[in-house]
Amino acid sequence: MSQTATLPIAFDDDAPPALRVRGYWSTVGYRLRHDPVTLCFGAIVLLIVLIAIFAPLLAPFDPYKESVILRLKPFGYRGHPLGTDELGRDLLSRLIYGGRSSLLMGLIPVCIATALGGTLGVIGGFAGRRVNAVIMRTMDVFYAFPSVLLAVAISGAMGGGMANGMAALALVFIPAMCRVAETATAQVRSLDFIEAARATGAGTFTIVRYHVLGNVLGPVFIYASSLVSVSILLASGLSFLGLGVKPPTPDWGLMLSTLRQSIYIVPLSCALPGAAIFVTSICFNLVSDGIRAAMDVRL
């Protein structure tokens, strides 16, 4: 993003003539602080997370309370700012609560995939040869499925539900994560400093822990951050198909699918849950782009 810094070190605009050299992380921090787009969307992400955490305090109504006479009411009807859904539940409250499952299903699969896929990738990349071949060729098979199709196939066979949906999404992300970690590990494996560490008598574990991981975690973290918005999109897609969160739990994907039946009665409320998914996903995407640019050592 910023074209000003051309070295892994960056300089303060108002620094004294004697140049101050920064470390890597303070450079990343400096870049992020001077990137208004990332800061702005990061603030929105924080806001969305806070809204989800403090949902019980913010929601004006109980998101589960149904009412036969209040079904499918328009915006602003009797104190319901966004109207009600097909069972007479307050739509604003459900949107506020809905962020919880969407964020969980965006973050947890990525964390699982990072841990498992990253570990497999480091093992494959560092062990090389046969171990590498076994791990990477297995990953290739899962890579041969389009991601939506694989997620739908696994959670469809397992029978839906939030836990199964998360497991399916984690499985979708593991191969890609594994490839990123494997590439990064294989790149440093044959470098001289690893050889030097081995010559001083360091064991495999020590080498991986102190010399390899530091070089692998960066690309893995960057990739993981870009997966969050994909995970949110796929998760709400699963819920939309009836494979993720089960009713009556409020969830954006699920709300989109049930409100769709009433598209001719309340067309505007029908579009709201999707707008929430869209805003969340685009914010995570832009923040991840910002992190990628800030952490890029080539700039």
Binding site: P146, V148, V152, F240
Partner: protein, 318 residues
């Protein structure tokens, strides 16, 4: 060249077999015994054993897999649990409807994404570039099923100019592209489906074109006095392999994404059938559709690989 082609095809075989193993094991991921759906609820232990034997469920798993693979290769995917019809008929019928959608959506997506990306890449940092980059981020973050719903709200509910869902009153048997009364059902699903890969294709094309534009040979071309148009032609040609690779991948996402889009528009294609199979817990149909769609994806990737090596000798030699 022939050796290279043979080599690539041989490499695709284990992948295809691996994919079939995953599809085979889908049945065992399902909670409960795979036999539960076929057995009557008051079956005796003796009957269960008999049926298990008849279906081969009493054999070891690798044997079961080989038997299943043998059936699949001869076109026998079993019968649908909800309709009792052979899965192969159901899947091929639905696939032909999906094919109608994708044959319009894919060219539309590729042309749009490529044009946007090439324009942005040729003018890095300019207004066009910023617009395209912004549009690409929106495209990548957009839940396409929601886009479909929004399009329905605007064009079907509010403006009432296009039909909301389905394939027309006559259904798929007499669907004709030449009659507007039928073809109008295509407009919204095709646009929605085409939007899935546009963002990523535009992004990759932009990056590839901008990268080639920075290479030394471009300076040489300019120094030789070539017109800017001819320079751009060279640049586009050189960025083609990278773009092609992404298009191949995106083809798969488009096929996968059609599950959601067809559900939104109740378009009777393979994706809609898949979502129905999920609701009815119709595992044979689920398995057959996934196998077909993923094999199409494997085949496309192979074709893309071969095309790439055809236009780019560097790949062949490495």
């Amino acid at each position: 060249m022939l050796r290279y082609i043979a080599h690539r095809i041989l490499l695709a075989v284990p992948i295809a077999l691996g994919v079939s193993v995953v599809c085979f094991s889908l049945v065992y991921l399902a909670p409960g015994d795979p036999l539960q759906t076929i057995l009557p609820s008051d079956a005796t232990a003796d009957m269960v054993a008999q049926i298990k034997h008849a279906y081969g469920f009493d054999r070891p798993l690798p044997v079961q897999y080989l038997l299943w693979l043998g059936h699949v290769l001869t076109g026998d995917f079993g019968a649908s649990i909800s309709t009792r019809r052979p899965v192969i008929l159901e899947v091929t019928g639905a696939l032909s409807n999906t094919f109608i959608l994708t044959s319009f959506a894919i060219p539309l997506a590729f042309i749009m994404g490529y044009t946007m990306g090439a324009l942005a890449g040729c003018f890095p940092g300019r207004v066009v570039d910023r617009l395209v980059t912004g549009a690409a981020v929106v495209g990548v973050s957009l839940p396409n099923y929601w886009l479909g719903i929004v399009l329905v709200i605007v064009f079907a509910v509010q403006l009432m100019v296009l039909p909301a869902t389905g394939m027309g009153p006559k259904g798929s048997a007499e669907f004709s592209l030449l009659r507007w009364s039928d073809a109008q059902y295509l407009v919204l699903p095709v646009i929605t489906l085409a939007m899935i890969p546009v963002g990523i294709i535009a992004r990759t094309t932009r990056a590839a074109v901008a990268e080639v534009l920075n290479q030394d040979f471009v300076t040489t071309l300019r120094a030789k006095g070539l017109s800017e148009f001819a320079v751009i032609r060279h640049v586009l040609k050189n960025s083609a392999p990278q773009v092609l690779a992404v298009m191949g991948l995106q083809f798969g996402y488009l096929m996968g994404g059609s599950i959601l889009i067809e559900t939104v528009f109740t378009w009777p294609g393979s994706g809609f059938m898949l979502s129905k199979a999920i609701i009815n817990r119709d595992i044979p149909v689920l398995q057959g559709t996934i196998l077909f769609l993923s094999m199409i994806f494997v085949a496309t990737n192979l074709v893309v690989d071969l095309l790439q090596s055809l236009i780019d000798p560097r790949i062949r030699r490495s």
